[in-house]
């Protein structure tokens, strides 16, 4: 073997990139060659430095939990986006019909625009929706606080003395009524899922939690499941979990609790989820394969001692093993 070939072996040996035979050949050469021996020392130093002063960042438990939390939110957005657009247009799932429908809608839109340009409509006489906004039920718009934005002129009224335009009117509305009123529930679920302020989201879940269980519809349950899975604030997730515990245990709630137990970065939430699953097991459902699989994994891998012990206890009670 030539000297340069030994030097190639040296470089690869630093990272363990050569097999045992090549290593033996190299070591024999090192005993007789000062230059390679010195170079080998340098490479050993490099390897030691990389081990002691590892560049980059540590992928520790905290970073992993943050990444999982953010992924969950991103997946939820992705799923919503797909359900709104992708699935509708995906010929693999629904066949060619949606494409025809889209084509037809496009043709219709072109026809509509052509018709409008050839036969312009007469000026609109009736009031715009904002003018007809009247208080109904227990809600009323607060006077003088309407904000008007996005004014868009349709007809500038040259020569006719009339003008036509559209605008967005945002009016604060005060609502008062029974907490079991469906209208109030709708606003609360909207606030729980969409408000930026976590304090308001928490208040919304609190209010939902005070409702009669029987008055809660499937929409409220779905919203609670979404909040438990994706709210960035642990307090909101915990309150959503408490609200779900009051509802009759079913497959959707089971999945939501399992997901929390599997992936929530907050140990308090995971503890609450395993306790909820345990209560449901003893009072309603027993333990099925899905729950057992997750419990077995948590009994081995969860970094929280209580959860590991609890998971083992539930498995033992459920299976007698």
């Amino acid at each position: 073997m030539k000297h340069d070939e030994y030097r190639d072996l040296l470089l690869l040996s630093a990272s363990g990139g050569i097999d045992a035979d090549e290593q033996a050949v190299l070591e024999r050469h090192l005993k007789t060659c000062d230059q390679c021996s010195r170079e080998y020392g340098e490479l050993q130093n490099l390897h030691r430095a990389l081990t002691e002063h590892r560049p980059g960042i540590e992928a520790d438990e905290r970073l992993l939990n943050e990444a999982r939390q953010e992924l969950r939110i991103a997946l939820r957005k992705e799923a919503l986006r797909r359900s709104a657009w992708f699935s509708w247009l995906d010929p693999g799932e629904y066949g060619p019909a949606p494409r025809f429908a889209l084509g037809a809608a496009f043709t219709l839109a072109i026809g509509f625009l052509l018709g409008r340009s050839l036969f312009p409509p007469a000026p609109v006489q009736e009031n715009l929706p904002v003018a007809s906004l009247t208080p109904s039920g227990g809600s009323r718009p607060e006077e003088g606080r309407t904000k008007i934005t996005n004014v868009h002129f349709i007809d500038h009224g040259r020569g006719t003395g009339e003008i036509e335009f559209t605008f967005d009117a945002v009016t604060p509305v005060r609502m008062r009524g029974s907490i079991d009123d469906p209208k109030i529930q709708k606003v609360l679920t909207h606030a729980m899922l969409n408000e930026e302020n976590p304090g308001i989201r928490l208040q919304a879940v609190h209010a939902i939690n005070r409702q009669d269980v029987e008055s809660q519809d499937s929409e409220t349950k779905s919203a609670l499941i979404k909040a438990l899975a994706a709210d960035a604030n642990a307090g909101v997730r915990k309150e959503a979990l408490n609200a779900l515990r009051r509802l009759p245990f079913d497959g959707e709630i089971k999945k939501a609790l399992l997901r929390t137990l599997m992936s929530d970065g907050n140990p308090g939430l995971r503890v609450a989820a395993i306790n909820a699953l345990d209560s449901a097991r003893t009072s309603v459902s027993g333990v099925d394969g899905d729950i057992l699989n997750v419990l077995k994994e948590k009994a081995e891998t969860d970094d929280n001692n209580y959860i590991r012990v609890k998971a083992r206890a539930v498995i033992q009670e459920a299976t007698g093993q």
Binding site: L11, S15, E42, L46, P55, G56, A59, L64, A67, R259
Partner: protein, 187 residues
Amino acid sequence: MDDADLVRKAQGGDILAFEQLVFRHDKNVLSIAARYVTSADDAKDIYQEVFLRVYRGLKRFRFRSEFSTWVHRITVNVCLTHRSRSRRTLPTLFLNDRNDEDADSHGEIRDPAWGPDHQAVSADISSRIEKALESLSPKQKLVFTLRHMEGYRLQEIALMMNCVEGTVKRYLFTATRRMRDQLRDTL
């Protein structure tokens, strides 16, 4: 339940099965990402992009390779095309400072030998290593970090990068030589 069973369930829309797949492989993905970049935000970006691509491509996964190999290949591709979101790579010294604060806040007791001088020297060496790594091409850097810092075998790296082992050796060879040359005065 093995990966293949979970993949089939996830392909049928079972989100819980998908999450179990994520939890089985995400530590490796985050670990590779965290070695490849130098900010936590960039590592999380790579992590998220990898699993979004997995989620989007899962229905087209045909079991021609192991699921883990597929995930690793996606990880490699995302790393190689990753551009830092805000070029906000923190100097290593800041990163170390932050970690030290965290250690204090958890009441950990430090080794008395780990004095300020030692920390400064260590931060300096880490900074030089990072600078040297930045001088490598993306593929050289990835092969080098996968081998030297994550301990993957050459054959595994070749599978991830969808190339032959000889190509991986070539990248590793060039990267090691350049790293040694750049760090000769430091070590």
